[in-house]
């Protein structure tokens, strides 16, 4: 048995060129050198401060100050060291992933030290709360993709599901004066887009990539149109209700952790639940085994009696419901009122997070948090340090993604039957 797995690994590794094997180590080292040579050398003199309490009032935890340049040197050295380890010591899959996470974390910390050197302290709590705000639609979108693609249907329509969900959540919450009906309406609308995806992809055998793009175009056109017809003429349909903050009693009082993880509105807790449920359902239950069988080898699944088409229909619609909640977050969960094209590419970033996270809920969570953190930094850093050019800071998360995808992750493998319609013969 062991020989078989080694053989399988060898076959899978075969197309990779010899230079490919060194890419990860070289990227680790390159990021380490950037930490040292760019962030460390160019940092202003002075300390970078990190505040760990919510506001200036009642500072229970002192501000952590570190000398910026030496901190960058240390973080760079860690990256270089990991690069050497990666090149010389054979580490397992888990080790590789942890190493990637540590290197990215060091890189981001060095970036923070460089940006904040000699400036007012950064408030870590507020940055992390902002990270959740940016990440929740990404996480729910990526989970939607995960549900669909594990069953073998490519979901590029995440963007459309988010946008339509946001629109109907806003309009229903405004018309009925309740945020919960808005949340439910957003979720159902996402499910409706999922149903369209399912009908065209599974029953009418339409190319799924085309279909996803088309659904996004339609969602954009329809929401623009209805915004123009209904909302801009009648502000009563876009009042901007939002959910109230729901502190978890007890847990929210824990310093640092409480305000970050347990002091938000209900969407954050729904997101926790969705991640846990979908991860366990897909990878530790009979249900998930069947879903993955349908996504990897539908013919075999059909032979043992799993209803392929029904499984796909169910998963695509479920995915739509989840993404619809993410869309509802954009309106009733954060800013309240709808504006045209407000999902602004979040669906595509969620798609990237799904692929970056190797089609697993936990991987998608990690990737979404990385993107969300970078999006938040791009907003925060120019206000802390006005010398930084805002467009270049905005660019950073996307450059980081390209580096991560090209240098650290490389070729990923989708579910084998992903995107192929199943025709029973």
């Amino acid at each position: 048995m062991e020989r078989v797995t080694t053989l399988a690994a060898a076959v899978r590794a075969a197309p990779l060129s010899t230079e490919r094997r060194h890419v990860a180590a070289v990227t680790f080292a390159a990021l380490g050198l950037i930490n040292i040579l760019v962030f460390g050398m160019l940092a202003h003199h002075g300390d970078a401060g990190f505040a760990l309490s919510e506001s200036g009032l009642g500072m229970r935890i002192p501000i952590i100050s570190v000398p910026a340049a030496p901190a960058c040197y240390v973080l760079g050295a860690i990256c270089l060291g990991l690069g050497v380890v990666r090149e010389t010591v054979p580490v397992g899959v888990r080790g590789k992933r942890i190493a990637i996470a540590v290197v990215l974390l060091c890189f981001l910390l060095a970036l923070l030290c460089w940006a904040d050197a000699g400036a007012i302290p950064l408030n870590v709590i507020i940055i992390m709360q902002g990270t959740w705000v940016a990440s929740i639609p990404l996480i729910l979108g990526a989970l939607s993709g995960c549900l669909c693609e594990r069953s073998g249907v490519i979901n590029i329509a995440i963007e459309g599901q988010l946008l339509f969900g946001a629109f109907s959540a806003a309009i229903v919450a405004s018309a009925f004066g309740g945020v919960w009906v808005g949340l439910i309406a957003g979720s159902l609308t996402g499910g409706l887009v999922g149903l369209m995806l399912a009908v065209f992809a599974i029953t009418f055998l339409m190319d799924q990539i085309i279909l996803g793009v088309v659904l996004n175009v339609l969602a954009l056109g329809m929401t623009d149109y209805f915004f123009d017809r209904l909302m801009s003429t009648n502000p009563n349909y876009n009042t901007g209700n939002t959910f109230a903050i729901l502190k978890i009693p007890g847990l929210a009082e824990i310093p640092v952790i409480g305000p970050i993880f347990f002091d938000s509105n209900v969407f954050l807790y729904i997101t926790y639940a969705a991640i846990i449920v979908i991860q366990i359902a897909l990878f530790s239950s009979r249900w998930g085994l069947r879903v993955r069988a349908v996504g990897e080898h539908p013919t075999a699944a059909d032979t043992v009696g799993i209803p392929v088409l029904w499984t796909r229909y169910r998963n695509v619609i479920l995915g739509g419901l989840v993404a619809g909640i993410g869309g509802a977050f954009l309106t009733v969960g954060s800013v309240g009122s709808f504006s045209p094209d407000m999902s602004s590419g979040f669906g595509y970033i969620a798609l990237a997070a799904l692929i970056f996270g190797r089609w697993t809920p936990l991987g998608a969570l990690a990737a979404s948090l990385l993107f969300g953190f970078c999006l938040e930094l791009a907003l925060v850093l120019p206000t802390v340090n006005p010398a930084l050019p805002a467009p270049i800071m905005n660019m950073a998360p996307y450059v980081a993604t390209i580096i991560a995808v090209a240098g650290l992750v490389g070729k990923v493998r989708a579910p084998k039957a992903d995107g192929q319609p199943y025709i029973k013969s």
């Binding site: 490919r20 890419v23 055998l205 339609l218 056109g221 017809r229 692929i355």
Partner: protein
């Protein structure tokens, strides 16, 4: 793929498409038989009843217009009032509905293709040129769409999904603009250099994507999406610094006008004119068609698109094909930018990139990733854009131009789902679904 002869202008006969043909469904043998005699009446009837690809396309457009009509009815306050008296006076209700929808679509037609009143004016001694004014606007709108559509289409043929036409567009626009105002050259040479610069600027961005995929396996969908945002931010940075591309004395993100020498001229005299950009777009489409169907490189692209592993076994350098096709795709998107920056606007602003990138995807899909098909798709979408603006003005905003985007989406949706069209119009099902060779899953 057997429908190819029925689409008429396509230069790719079924026999030269081994790579695409093998992706078609089994039992697809009607091709040569139909192509021999496709002009006879019997075959025409057969094409209609069995739903050949041209018929499906026309029916898809028709169905999209019907669904769009529902939206138009919804927008017209007179009609929505008329529907409240549906049971009292159904004749009035349906009459108002028909009037509203037919008015909107006829205005769209007059704005984009032909306005009968200009014809009668010309007969009575008016300007003949005015007849062609709507068509010339359509061509002008179609130009960037055709070029970004080609960019997406050639990448599709090699099995790559290029969502990054927008970023490549920005790359081309930056280079073309800088050459346009920052460099002094003799008249004719200047514009040629600028257009070439646009191609190169886009090609560099596209090449980078192909290179990353070839060297590290990074998925082109992620890389192109991320590069789009990088390029938008880069554009914003360049346009906010006078030392870079910003017009001196401006606070907005706007570049100087390009020199007159660098303007893409128009041909055909006063107002109704065809821009050189449109001619470049058509020439680029023909060149792509030739490249894809008549050259070894094009054959390699299509083989890689059909199956990378089979192509590798056959000795084709798959990585080289990916890099090369993305270079070409980027260059075409850059040409689209050159046509806008040097021709239509003569100035680059932050919003110049518009929606050319995403429109390029829909145009490529409607054109079935075939260069000549992309020309027709680009013209159709160009006409819809022109007609949409026209109808919004003609109905005093009752029918918003946004409706065009819905129509575009519906057309591609229905064209790509021939099974649905056949079901709706009760056509007999035949071989081939038409679009299956365009795009593939992540595992390519």
């Amino acid at each position: 793929m057997s429908e190819i002869p029925a689409t008429g202008p396509d230069p790719a006969p079924a026999a030269t498409e081994p790579a695409a043909a093998e992706l078609g469904p089994p039992g697809d043998s009607a091709g040569p038989r139909r192509s021999r005699a496709w002009l006879t009446t019997g075959v025409l009837i057969q094409a209609v009843t069995q739903g050949s690809s041209a018929v499906v396309t026309i029916l898809a457009i028709f169905l999209a217009l019907v669904v769009g009509g529902v939206l138009i009815v919804f927008s017209d306050p007179v009609v929505t009032r008329a529907w409240s008296s549906l049971f009292v006076d159904p004749g009035y209700t349906f009459g108002q509905t028909w009037d509203s929808v037919s008015f909107a679509y006829s205005q769209m037609f007059e704005g984009a293709i032909l306005n009968p009143s200009t014809v009668s004016a010309a007969i009575h001694g008016g300007s003949i040129a005015a007849i062609f004014y709507p068509l010339s606007s359509t061509c002008a709108q179609a130009t960037p769409l055709i070029l970004t559509g080609l960019s997406v289409a050639v990448a599709f043929r090699c099995g790559l999904f290029n969502i990054g036409a927008a970023g490549q567009w920005v790359g081309g626009a930056v280079v073309a603009t800088w050459l346009g105002f920052g460099v002094s050259l003799p008249p004719f040479i200047h514009v040629v250099v600028c257009v070439a610069g646009g191609f190169v600027g886009g090609a560099v961005i596209g090449w980078f994507v192909g290179l990353l995929k070839a060297k590290t396996g990074a998925h082109e969908v992620i890389v192109t999406i991320m590069l789009n945002y990088v390029m938008y931010d880069l554009l914003s940075y360049l346009l906010s610094h006078p030392a870079m591309l910003q017009q001196p004395g401006q606070t907005n993100e706007i570049a100087p006008f390009v020199d007159n020498d660098a303007n893409l001229a128009h041909v055909g005299g006063p107002p109704p004119q065809v821009g050189i950009g449109f001619l470049i777009a058509v020439a680029a489409a023909i060149a792509c068609a030739w490249l894809l169907t008549r050259t070894t490189t094009g054959f390699q692209f299509r083989t890689v698109g059909a199956s990378p592993s089979a192509a590798r076994t056959a000795g084709i350098n798959v990585e080289r094909s990916w890099t090369l096709v993305m270079l070409l795709a980027g260059g075409l998107a850059g040409l689209s930018a050159a046509a806008i920056v040097l021709g239509t606007n003569t100035q680059l602003t932050y919003n110049s990139y518009g929606t050319y990138g995403s429109d390029g995807i829909t145009v490529a899909l409607l054109g079935r990733a075939k260069p000549i098909g992309v020309i027709w798709a680009g013209l159709l979408f160009g006409a819809l854009h022109v007609g949409g603006t026209y109808v919004e003005a003609a109905t005093l905003g009752n029918v918003p131009a946004d409706i065009v985007q819905v129509l575009e989406g519906l057309i591609v949706l229905f064209v790509a789902a021939p099974a649905l069209i056949r079901a709706v119009f009760r056509l007999r099902s035949t071989s081939g679904t038409g679009m299956e060779a365009v795009a593939k899953g992540w595992n390519g």
